[in-house]
Structures are given as C-alpha cells and as structure tokens.
C-alpha cells in the first residue's frame, strides 16, 4: 500500500497565548481536552456522591449542603427533584465530557499523529476550534446545572414528552433543559471537527513505512471511534434541534395529541415520543462504543508492552474493532424493548445485540492469550489494563441477559442495567483512561508518575468499584427500578436498604481515593522522576522521540517505519523489543 509523506511545514509557535492557549499543536490540544475531562470528572463525581448520600440516607438533613444548595434542600432533607437533577447532570457530564473527551479527543489528539508518524493533525486550525467549541459546550452545561428553575430532571436520555413539555412537567424542565439541549448541540459540532481530523490524518498523513497494518491498535481504535463519532453525532444534533423546537417553537415532533400535564391541556398533536428514543439511541449506542473502543485499544497496547509479547492475533483484533464499530450501528433498539416498539423489531435487535458480543469476546480471549507465557511487569499502567480486562468481562457478560427481550421484561430500567453500564463505561472505560495516563504521562510531561502512590490509587479504585457496582446487580434482580430518589415507598424494596448504605460508603471511599491520583498528577509535574525517551521499553513511535516531544514531534528527520507495532521478544533479536523505527536489520 502506498504510504504518504508528511504534508506540513511547521513554524514553531511563539508567545504564551499561541503556545498554550490558542494553540494549534495537537499535543497542547490533547492536554487541554484532558484538563477539561479532569474538571468534568470532578464535577461528575461530586454529583454522584450527592446522589449516593440521598439513596443511603434519604430522610437525613444535611445543613452544610442546604447552605450551598438552598433550593435542593428546601429546609429539610434533599428533595427528590434535586436528586433527579444530580442524576441527569452526572450522567450527561460523565458520558459526554469525560468518556467522549479524554479517551478520544484527549489521548487521541496527543498520540495519534505521533503514532502514525505525522507532524500534526491534518487540520490544526479546526483541531483548535474543536477544543474551544467543546469548552463552550461545557460552560453552557454548567449554566444548565445552575439554571433558574433547576437543572433538568429528565435523565441524560431526556425522554420525551417529559423533556419537551417544559416546567409544567416538573422542576428543571424550563431553562435548565433548554440550556442542556443547546450544550449538547454545541458538543456535537465539536466532536464532528475532531472526527474529521482523526480520519484524515490516519488516511493521508502516515509516515513512510507506516502501512495501516503496522499501526498500533490504539490508532486503529481511535480511527474506528472517529468513524462512529462522524456518523452518530449528527443524528443527536438533529434530534436536539427538533426537541428544542418542540419546547420553544410550538411544534409537535415528539408530543402527541391530547396530553394533560399537571391539569394543563396541551395543544400539540401528532408527534411521537418513540421517535425521540429512536433518534437518541441511534446516536446513543454508537456513543457508548465511542466511550469504550479507545480503552480497548489502550489495553491491547499496554498488555503487550508489559507482557513483553506481541498482541495476540493483531489482524483479528483489527477486525474485531471494525466489527464492533459496524455492529454498534444496528443494535440501538435494545434500549427500547419495553417501549411499545414492535416486538418483531425487538427480536431483530436482540440478534444483532448478541452478535456484537462475539467480537468483544474475541478481544477478551486475545488479551488473555497476549498474557500467556509473557513476562509481566506490574507497572501502574499494566495494573489498570489488567483491571480493564476483569471489569470488561464483568460488565460484558450481563449484556447477555439484557440482550434478550424476554429477560429484559424484568430487568429493563432496574439497577441491573445501572450495574451493567457503570461497570463497562463508568469503570472499565475509566480504567482505560487511567492506564493511558500512567503510560503516557512520562511522554507528555517528561516525568514519571509516582508508581508507589499509583499502586495505592489502583487498589482503592479496583476494590472500590467492585464494591460499588457488584451489589447493584442484586438490587436489579430484586426488582429495584432506576432513577428512584429513595426506595422507602415500596415494601418489596425495603430489605435492600442496607445494600444502598454499603454502596454509598464504598463510593465515598473510592471517590476520596481519587484525590491520590490528582495529587500524584500535579506533584509529579515538578517532582516526578525524569522519564527519558522510553521508560517502558515500548515499541511505538511516540517512544522514539524525546519526552516531552518537540513542537513538530520528530525534529528535522522524517520518521521511517520498518517494523510492526508489537515486536516484542522476537527470537534472535538483540533486545526484547524492536522499535518501529529501528533499522530493518534489527529483526533477524
């Protein structure tokens, strides 16, 4: 396959603003995204703790919190509407501003060009715009959090008609919901700009010798994720526009005739609440794969590096990434089994959903096979990647239950679903981010994160997340519905309260332990051990350049690639790893 030479002539940026604020350098933009994600995850975690506080102790008064959020406590315990607002914003902020930014726009922006041997992304100006657009989106979302009338209470899924009818449907459904929609619409635009850049860079700007089948799996994952983002976000944008019009333009895209909300008769007619669900989930399902695929790429990459073994069945791994990406577009109906959708359609979606489990299983086997007869080095990056494998299995197998409509009759909209998606997204994907952080921090900042504190962080996180989310399966099996501000109104749920207390305590401990990571991150910037070019003895292109890299990545010499991405422990080679840019003779 023909490979292409670099197409950019770069001048080094000058001045603080050009270098660090309005920078077109993909590395700076990557760090900006990661910073945004860190701010967002902090907000998201605080919101989740507020939720857990209410779930465990629903009638308790919290005077200090009432001081900060007077509307949310109204002189007594936390109100249910405050709980729902926290729930909505927690989900939204985590899914969009953490799981869609950090793995893809954060690490991907920084490392994709380097891994394929390019000087920068294909469209650096557009790249810069994508970050600032996303930042604006985040600011609007924060406005929604503090909007008059409250933050929206319709969940991150914003089902209609609840999200469409305005304040008569409940608190937060006024300005809060409108700002939410606007924020999401802006976010869609930012993601599209990112996706364009990733795809063009991979297809056109790879260095000499970097054929597609020599790309690291991280690059393959970013590439596929970008395809998903390109085709999914516009659908959300369309839905958002129509929802906004239903709210402020008097249209009836999602609102049927004859609605009477809070004794007010609405004049809308002819819309379909299910139409929103279809539009949302057509986006929503690829979105969750956008959240996990980069983590899968990182896991493959790190397991290989720290087992000193090639990734098992590289070609199959590439195929699996594509298969997952492709099939993810035809499974969205499994979120709608109980929605009133045609049961025949449900059967079709059930089959496709089971099908998407197959490439995921292949990847899991291959990860285990990568470990087989390896020489494992237990660095923090490796620990988090091993944790990813464990969590991915835990979260993935429950998919087998939820994919069957008959079983879903009971499990839909219960805590079983909450357990499933949290373990996959809220933990496995997060572990993928942490793994990437421990692995790439030395390259980005020239210093190593402290491995000792990293291990403490790891253990608290691993044990903690299992303590938080495993019990939720049992809540679901007992029939505990989702999005309940408390379970005390139902006799059949009362015996589950101790589980909620256990989960909440585990959550508080786990979230607190994340402070260790943040502390490590900032302390190591100045006090970490100097990293050198390749502290992990890893093979991909980013490890052949200085830490941190010069502004044009590779300096005066064009990189030329002679080897595949995972040449570890090649028999007869001088070292147990061959870098991709090593001369051809390095491989006997």
């Amino acid at each position: 396959m023909e490979v292409h030479v670099a197409a950019h002539q770069h001048k080094a940026p000058t001045g603080f603003v050009q270098k660090y604020i309005f920078s077109m350098d993909h590395k700076v933009i990557g760090i900006q995204y990661l910073t945004l994600a860190m701010a967002a995850v902090t907000v998201g975690m605080i919101l989740s703790l507020l939720m857990r506080l209410r779930l465990a102790w629903p009638t308790e008064k919290w005077p200090m919190l009432a001081h900060i959020f007077p509307n949310g406590f109204a002189g007594g315990p936390m109100t249910p509407e405050f709980y729902l607002a926290m729930l909505t914003m927690h989900g939204t902020i985590m899914v969009f501003f953490v799981l869609t930014t950090a793995p893809l726009s954060g690490f991907g922006n920084y490392f994709l060009p380097i891994q394929v041997g390019a000087r920068d992304m294909a469209f650096p100006f557009m790249n810069m715009m994508s970050f600032w657009v996303t930042l604006v989106s985040f600011c609007v979302m924060l406005m929604a959090l503090f909007a008059t009338g409250g933050a929206p209470i319709s969940g991150w899924t914003a089902y209609t008609p609840l999200s469409a009818v305005g304040l008569i449907g409940g608190p937060g459904l006024g300005a809060g919901q409108t700002l939410w929609i606007i924020s999401i619409a802006i976010f869609c635009v930012g993601s599209l700009l990112t996706a364009l850049n990733f795809l063009t860079t991979v297809l056109n700007l790879r260095a000499r010798g970097m054929s597609l089948m020599r790309m690291p799996l991280t690059s393959w994952a970013w590439f596929t994720t970008a395809i998903l983002a390109l085709l999914a976000f516009p659908v959300l944008l369309a839905g958002g526009v129509l929802l906004l019009l239903d709210r402020v333009g008097g249209t009836s895209f999602f609102i049927p005739a004859g609605l009477v909300v809070s004794d007010r008769h609405l004049t809308n007619s002819g819309g379909s609440p299910l139409l929103w669900q279809h539009l949302f989930w057509f986006f929503g399902h690829p979105e969750v794969y956008i959240a996990i695929l980069p983590g899968m790429g990182v896991t493959s990459h790190i397991l290989s590096t720290f087992s000193r073994k090639p990734v098992f069945a590289y070609k199959a791994m590439v195929g699996a990434i594509f298969a997952i990406g492709f099939i993810s577009y035809v499974v969205w109906g499994h979120h709608m089994f109980m929605s009133g959708m045609s049961p025949y359609t449900a059967m079709a979606f059930s089959i496709t959903t089971m099908a998407v489990g197959v490439p995921s299983a292949i990847k899991t086997f291959n990860w285990l096979a990568t470990l087989w007869k390896g020489q494992i080095r237990f660095t923090c990056a490796m620990l988090f990647s091993l944790g990813f494998v464990s969590l991915f299995v835990s979260g993935g197998v429950t998919g087998m239950l939820l994919a069957q409509p008959a079983v879903d009759i009971f499990l839909h909209d219960t805590y079983f679903v909450v357990a499933h998606f949290h373990i996959i997204m809220g933990v496995a994907a997060i572990f993928g981010i942490f793994a990437g952080m421990y692995y790439w921090y030395p390259k980005m900042f020239g210093r190593l994160l402290d491995e000792g504190w990293g291990k403490v962080h790891f253990w608290f996180s691993l044990v903690g997340v299992y303590c938080i989310f495993m019990p939720m399966h049992f809540l679901g099996i007992a029939g505990h519905p989702r999005r309940y501000a408390q379970l005390t109104e139902f006799k059949y749920l009362l015996h589950l309260q101790p589980l909620h207390v256990f989960i909440s305590i585990a959550a508080f401990i786990t979230v607190t332990a994340q402070v260790i990571f943040f502390f490590n991150f900032f302390w190591s910037l100045k006090k970490g051990k100097p990293a050198g070019d390749n502290p992990w003895e890893s093979t991909s292109l980013e490890w052949s350049i200085p830490s941190p890299p010069p502004f044009d990545n590779f300096g005066p010499i064009e990189p030329i690639v002679h080897h595949g991405p995972y040449e570890y422990s090649v028999p007869g080679a001088a070292r147990d790893y061959i870098m991709q840019t090593d001369p051809p003779e390095a491989r006997p």
Binding site: G239, S252, S269
Partner: protein, 187 residues
C-alpha cells in the same frame, strides 16, 4: 513515493501540494458524510411523523422556490466553470450572486408562508419545511463564506480552498434538490 526507493532523508519533506489537495478533499468528503447523516436523521423524523399523523395537511410548494432552485443550479454551474478554468472572476462572482439570491429567495419564501398564516407550530409539514430550509440555509451561508474566501486566501492555499469549497457547494445544491423532492415531490 514507493517504499522501495528509500534513501535516508536529510530534512523535512517540503509540503507536497498534491497530498495537501487530497487531504483537503478527503476532509471535505468526510464533513459531507457527517452533514449527510444530519439530513438523514431529519428525513427519518419526517417519514415517521408523516406516517403517524392523520392530520397531515401538506402545504403546496411556494412558487418562489422554483426561482431559488434555478439560482442555486446556475450558481453551481458557474462555480464549476470557474473551478475548471481556475480563472475568470466573472464566473465566481456570478456564483456568489446567485447564492445570495438563493438565500434571499428562501427568506422570501418564509415571509410568504408567514403572511399566509403558516407557522412552525400549526402545520407539521410546514414545520419540517422551516427546519429543513433553515438547516440547509445555514450551511449555504457557510458556503457563501467559503466562496468569498477563495479570492482572499493566500495563493498557496487557493487551489485547495477552491476545490473543497466547490465540492461543498455542489453537495449543497444536490441536497437542495433532494429536500425539494422530500418535501413536495411525494405528495
């Protein structure tokens, strides 16, 4: 450049115009794929809503749309002439003028509908008309901005800009024909 003729390079490769052009065009094609998905989503909403509603009263096509369509077609043709000749400011100017005429004509169509009392809220067919023409119109405005940029950007970038803008503009023209068909061709 094939891998077989490698020599150790001594410095960064100069920017290769052919690759730059191909890169710009690829980026534009991908962007059009995304924009296409936006209108695909709107289409599916339209089809579903149309099928659901017993009260669907399709409004007739405002006649000015015929003139607007003609303007957009002329605009594309004119731009294509300019693109192939890479010269002839008249053709570019004609294209821009026709583009502005199109936008003005769309606004006039909106005004006409409003004068007849047809708004977003009281007719679902009209609601889609407003949404689709607004979404398309915003993209046309972006395109006008791009056309304006052709003579303004630095010489080194001009060809890429022109090629990418032309591709975008023709796509918007074809999209308009599609939207006309969707809104009025199936009644």
């Amino acid at each position: 450049m094939s891998v077989a003729t490698l020599e150790l390079p001594t410095g960064p490769e100069p920017a290769n115009p052919k690759v730059l052009l191909r890169t710009s065009l690829l980026g534009m094609k991908l962007a059009l794929a995304g924009i296409g998905m936006l209108f695909t989503a709107f289409t599916s909403a339209y089809v579903v809503r149309h099928g659901l509603d017993p009260d669907w009263h399709a409004m007739p096509m405002p006649r000015i749309l015929a003139a607007n369509t003609l303007a957009l077609l002329i605009s594309s043709l004119s731009l294509e002439v300019y693109r192939r000749r890479r010269d002839g400011r008249f053709w570019l100017a004609l294209s821009q003028v026709m583009g502005v005429f199109f936008v003005a004509g769309q606004v006039a169509a909106w005004r006409q509908l409003q004068a007849q009392g047809v708004y977003l809220s009281n007719n679902p067919h009209a609601a889609f008309f407003y949404v689709l023409t607004a979404a398309h119109g915003l993209h046309i405005l972006g395109g006008l901005f791009a056309l304006g940029g052709i003579t303004v950007v630095a010489e080194a970038r001009r060809i890429r800009w022109l090629e990418a803008a032309s591709l975008y503009w023709h796509f918007m023209g074809a999209l308009w024909l599609y939207l006309l068909f969707l809104l009025f061709g199936m009644n």
